[in-house]
Amino acid sequence: MLKIIWRRFRENPLSVTGLAIILVLAMVAVFAPFIAPYKPTAINVYNVLSPPDTAHLFGTDDLGRDVLSRMIWGSRASLKVGFFAVGIAITIGIVLGAIAGFYGGVIDGLIMRFVDIMLAFPTFFLILAVIAIVEPSLPTIMAIIGVTSWMDVARLVRAEFLSLKERDFVSSARAIGASDFRIIFKHIIPNALSPVFVSATFGIAGAILIESGLSFLGLGVQPPEPSWGNILTSGKDNITVAWWLSLFPGLAILVTVLSYNLVGEGLRDALDPRLWQHEK
C-alpha cells in the first residue's frame, strides 16, 4: 500500500521537490546550533542594519544580530507550529467527525452546528481574542491554532464515516460483538484517514502562515526568540532603510509553505483511488 502511494507520488516531480525542501528544512531546524554562523541573540551595537555582505549573508537587524542565524533558528518555530497545531487539529477533528458520522441523528446535528458556528468567525478573530487573554508564546499559539482549525477535518471524517459505516466489514465486526469504540477506532478510522493526511499537509502550510502573521503582528513568538514572522516586524519598522530584513524571511515562509502545498497536492493525487486503475 505504502509502496503504491510512494510510486504514484514519485511521478510528480514538483511534489518530490517540495518533499526534499521540507526534509532539508527539518534538518536545518534540528541542527540549527551547528549550522547557524552566529548566535541568534548575539547583539552587536557597532554593526546594526548592515546590508548583506560576506560576513553576514542576509545582513544584520536593528540590534546588529545576524539575520541568517535568526532565520535558521526561526525555522524551529515554523516546524513546531506546523506539526503540533495540526496534530491538535486533526485529533479534535477525527474524534468529533467520527462521533458525528457514526452516531448520526441529534449528536451529528449538534456537532455539525458547532462546526458551522466555529466557521462563522472570521479567520484570525477567535485566535486574536484568545491571545488577548493568554500571554502569546510559541506553545500557546500552537494550541490556539490547533483548537481553531479542526473543522475541515471533522467534516471530512464525518463524510467518510457516513459511507464506511454502511459497509459489510462494519456489519461483520458488529455481528461478532465488537464494541462501538472498537469499530470506530479499529475498523473505520484506519479506512478514513487518506483525506485527513492530505488535509493535514495543507493544514501545516496554513498553520505556518498564521503563525508568521501573528508573530509579525507581535502576537505570536515573542522576541528575542526568533521566528520568521517577528523578523519581518523589524523589517516593517526599518522599511525605508533595510529591505533585506523584509525580503529573506518572507521568501523563507513562501518557499516552505509552497513546499507543503506541493506535497499536499502530490499526496492527494497519489491517494485518490480513482486515479489508481492503471496501477493494477
Binding site: F121, P122, F124, L126, A129, V130, I131, I133, L232
Partner: protein, 325 residues
Amino acid sequence: MTAYILRRLLMMVPLIFGITLITFIVIHLAPGGPVEVETEMSLKATAQARDNLKRLYGLDKPLHVQYIEWVKRFVKLDFGVSFVDGKKVTDKIRESVGVTLIINLLSLMLIVIIAVPVGILSAVKQYSLFDKIVTVFVFIGFSTPTFWLALIMMILFGVTLGLLPISGIQSIDVSGMGSLGRLWDWTRHLIMPVGLSAFGGIAGFSRYSRSSVLEVIRQDYIRTARAKGLKETEVIFRHAVRNALLPIVTILGLSVPGLIGGAVIFETIFAIPGMGRLFYSSTMSRDYPTIMGILVIGAILTLLGNLIADISYAFVDPRIRVQQK
C-alpha cells in the same frame, strides 16, 4: 422564494445564539478577567477597588446571569462601553465597519473580474502555456504570506518608486483638494490594500472557476451542443460558463470570513481605521467589551455573506427557483 429566504433567516437564529455563547465563553475563560487588566498597572489598587470595579461591570454575578444580561443588551445592539476610552462599543464599530466593508467589496469585485475570466480561459485551453503559467501563479498565490507581500509592495511602490502612499486612507492636506482630487487621493491610498487583500482570493478563484468549467465541459449537454453544430464560442459562453459559474457564487460567500479576517493584517499594516485595526488594537489593550462586540459582529457579517450567496444562488439556479414555487 420568500419562504426560502425566511427559512434561511430562521436557520441563522440558533447559529447567532451559538456565536454569542462561544464569544462569551472565550472571553470569560480569562484567568484574571477584565478587572485584573485594569488594575495590574497600578500597585495601589486595593482589593476594595477591585471589588468596586467588578460590581461596576457586573462581574461579581454568576456567569450565566452575566451571559443572559449581556445577550439581552446585545439584542438591543448595546455592547457596553470600551475600557480604553469609555466610548460606546457600538459607536466604535459603526465608525470603523464602513471602511472595512468598502475594501472587502472592492476586493471581491476585483477577484471576480480577474479570476473568473482567467479560470475560464485556462480551462478552455487546458495544458496550454497560459494554463501552466496560471497554475504556477495559483500555487505561489496560495503560499505567499500576504502581509509580507504588502511589505515588499510598500518598499517597491511606496519607498523606492514613491508612487503610492503607504499608510492611512487620506493625505494630511486632503482638505485643500477639490472633490475630484479627494477621490483620486482616496483611490491612491486604497490601491495597495485592495489589491493585496484580493491577491490570495484571485489565486483561489481562478483555480475554482477552472475546475468548475472543466467539470461542465465533460457533460453530455456540452457534447450535444457541439454535435448540433454550435460555434465553439457559443458552446463555451452560453452553455458551459453559465452552468460552471453557479457554484462559484457559493464559494464567493464562503470567502467572506477570510476577507474580514485578512482585514486585521492589512488595516494594521497600512494604518487604515477599519474594524480589523480596531480589533487588533482592542486585542493589544485587552478591551474586552470591544473584542466581544467585534467577534459577534464579524461572525454575523460572515453569516450574512453566506445568506446573500445562498439567495443569489437560488435566484440564478432555475432548479431551485422552480422547486420553491
